[in-house]
Amino acid sequence: MAAANAPAGLFDCRDAYVRAVEELAAADNRIVAVVNDSVGSSKLGKFRDRFPDRLINVGIAEQNMVGVGAGLANGGKIPFVSGAGSFLTARAMEQIKADCAYSEQNVKLCGISSGVAYGELGATHHSIEDIAWLRAIDKLTVIVPADPWETAAAIKAAAAHDGPVYVKISRMPVPELARPAGAAFAIGKAETLCEGGDIALVVNGTLVHRALAAAEALAAEGVAARVVNMATVSPLDTDALAAAAATGAIVTAEEGLAHGGLGGAVAEYCAQHAPVRMRMLGFAGFQPTGSVDWLFERSGLTAEGIAAAAREMLALRG
C-alpha cells in the first residue's frame, strides 16, 4: 500500500477511502460519487476515469451537492458525497439535516481532509466543529475512522447501512494499527485495542495511535490503561463506555473541539449512567495558522499530552 505523500509506514486515509469506493462501485452500479470541484482533494480522479457517468461534479456549490445527493438516493443510487469537511458540513448543514437525516435518505457524506489537516490555511478551513454539529442530528450515523483499514471498513459498512452516514476522513499520515486476525468493523461497536483497569483512554480518528503510544508509556510506569477506539460517535457503544467508566477515570482525545464532540458524547452518557472523573482533550476553539504537528502539540493532542492527562487524573484519585 503506497501513499505518495505520506512518510514510510504512515498512510493517508483518503487512499483507503477511494479504493473502497472504487471497489464498491465495481460491484454495484448504484454507487455514485458527488463532489464540489473536489475530484483532486478527494482523490477521485481514478474513480472518474473508471466510472465517468457515476462521478457527479456539481461545482463549487455545497448546498446543491448535498441536495443532489439526497435526490440521487431517492432515484435509487447510493451516493458518496465527498468534499472538504469544513465546507461539506458547515455550508450544507440544513441540507444534511432536512434532506438527508430527517428525510431518512440513503446518503453517505464523506468529510475529506477534516480536523486541522489544512493547518496553515486557518480556521475557515479547519473542520473541528463537525462532530459536535453532526452528532446533534437525529438519525445520522457519525463515524471517525482511525487508520486505512478502519476507513475502508467504515466506507463499506456505510454502503451496506440503509440510512444517512457521515464519515470523517483524515489526510494526516497515520500508521496501520495492529489488529488480531479476523477483526471486524461494525457501526456502533467500539474497539478495545488495549485492556487495562487503571484508567480508560476513549479516542478515535488520528488520536488512536497516539493513545496507544500513551498507554505504552503508562505501562512502563506500572499503569494499565484501557484504550477504546470509539470510531462511531453516533450511536455510541454504551457497553464499551460502561466498561471504560468502571476503571474510575476517562481521558478522551479527538481531532476536534474539546467540547461537544466525542468527549461531550462520552460525558453525557457517563454523567447520567456511569459517573466518572473525566478529562477531555481537543482544541479549545479557533486555531491559529501553523503546521498540523504544531497544532496538535500546542493542544496536547500527542502521546505525551494524553499520558500527562492520565497521570493528572490518577493523581487526583490518589
Partner: protein, 294 residues
C-alpha cells in the same frame, strides 16, 4: 427583456373537456377540503394552498404516472413540493390520488398525526423529500433527475416552488447545474403569485426579469395561467416533448384563489377563516361548482 407569453386555453375536443372537467372538479374539492382542515386545525397556510391547488390537481389527477400502491417504484414520476408549507394542497392531492385514506385528512396538524405542518416522507407515502425550509426542493429534484439521466430512465420529475422562495441561493445553485446537465425530464413550476409572507416579492427583493434569469441559467421557459386547468394540462403535455434543457413553467397565480376575500391578500399567507368567513368561502366554491355543472 424578453417576456413569456401566458398560455390560456382555447377550443377543445370532448375527451379533452372530460380531462379538464375532472381536474376542475378535483381542484374545487381540494379547496373545500383544505379550508375545512385549516378551520378544524386552527392554523395553516390557506393563501399558498389556494394558489397552488390547480397546479397540484392537474399533476396528481392527470399528468403524473404514479401508483399509490407502489409509492417507491423506481420508474415513478416524482413530484417535489418545494413550498413545503402548503400541505393543505399537497395532502388533499395525495389523499385524492389514493396514497392514504381521505378520512386521515381530518387528523391534519393534530398531535401525532402523519399530516405534519410540513410533509415527511418517512411517515407519509407519496412524499418524496421532507421540505419546509425553502430552497431545498430543486436541488433534490435535480439529484432525482440526474439519477434518471444516468439510467436513461423515462420518468419525469416535477418541482413546485414558491416565487418568494426563489430568493434562496440554493435554488440557483441547482438551476445552474440542471442547465449544465441538460436535464430534459425536469420541470419546475413557479407558483408566481407575487406575494411572499409579508409583502409583494417585487417590493421585498425583486425577481423580475424572472424568465430571463432562468433562460440565462440554460432553461427553457414557458408561461401559463396557473388557474386555467386546460392551459395547465396543455403546458404539462408540452413539457413531455423531448428536450435537451430543463423546463420552467412560470404559473401566473393568485394567493387565495377561489375565495374572493383571500385573493391577493398577503394577510392570508397564514390565517384561519372564522365561521362566517368559512361559510362564505364554501358558498363561493359551491357557487363556482354549481355554475360548472350547468
Amino acid at each position: 427583456m424578453e417576456t413569456v407569453g401566458l398560455a390560456r386555453s382555447g377550443g377543445r375536443s370532448g375527451a379533452e373537456n372530460a380531462r379538464v372537467e375532472r381536474v376542475r372538479e378535483r381542484a374545487n374539492w381540494m379547496r373545500r377540503r383544505l379550508l375545512g382542515m385549516i378551520v378544524d386545525a386552527g392554523q395553516g397556510h390557506p393563501g399558498g394552498d389556494l394558489s397552488s391547488a390547480d397546479i397540484l390537481a392537474s399533476l396528481y389527477f392527470d399528468i403524473l404516472r404514479i401508483d399509490p400502491k407502489a409509492p417507491s417504484a423506481l420508474d415513478r414520476d416524482r413530484f417535489v413540493m418545494s413550498k413545503g408549507h402548503c400541505t393543505g394542497a399537497l395532502y388533499t392531492a395525495l389523499a385524492g390520488a389514493g396514497f392514504f385514506a381521505e378520512a386521515e385528512l381530518d387528523t391534519y396538524l393534530k398531535p401525532g398525526s402523519r399530516l405534519n405542518g410540513h410533509p415527511n416522507r418517512a411517515y407519509l407515502p407519496g412524499v418524496e423529500t421532507n421540505t419546509g425550509p425553502l430552497g431545498h426542493g430543486l436541488p433534490v429534484a435535480v439529484g432525482i433527475a440526474v439519477a434518471g439521466q444516468i439510467d436513461g430512465a423515462d420518468f419525469r420529475t416535477f418541482v413546485l416552488t414558491g416565487d418568494g422562495e426563489l430568493q434562496e441561493g440554493s435554488v440557483w445553485e441547482a438551476a445552474m447545474f440542471a442547465g449544465h446537465r441538460g436535464l430534459g425530464k425536469l420541470t419546475v413550476i413557479v407558483d408566481r403569485n407575487r406575494l411572499q409572507q409579508g409583502a409583494k416579492t417585487e417590493d421585498t427583493n425583486s425577481l423580475e426579469p424572472l424568465a430571463d434569469k432562468w433562460r440565462a441559467f440554460g432553461w427553457q421557459v414557458a408561461g401559463v395561467d396557473g388557474h386555467d386547468h386546460a392551459a395547465l394540462l396543455a403546458a404539462f403535455d408540452a413539457a413531455a416533448e423531448p428536450r435537451d434543457k430543463p423546463l420552467v413553467i412560470i404559473a401566473d397565480t393568485h394567493k387565495g384563489q377561489g375565495v374572493s376575500f383571500m385573493r391577493d391578500q398577503a394577510g392570508w399567507h397564514h390565517g384561519v377563516p372564522n365561521a362566517e368567513q368559512y361559510a362564505e368561502a364554501l358558498r363561493e366554491l359551491g357557487a363556482e361548482l354549481e355554475a360548472e355543472m350547468k
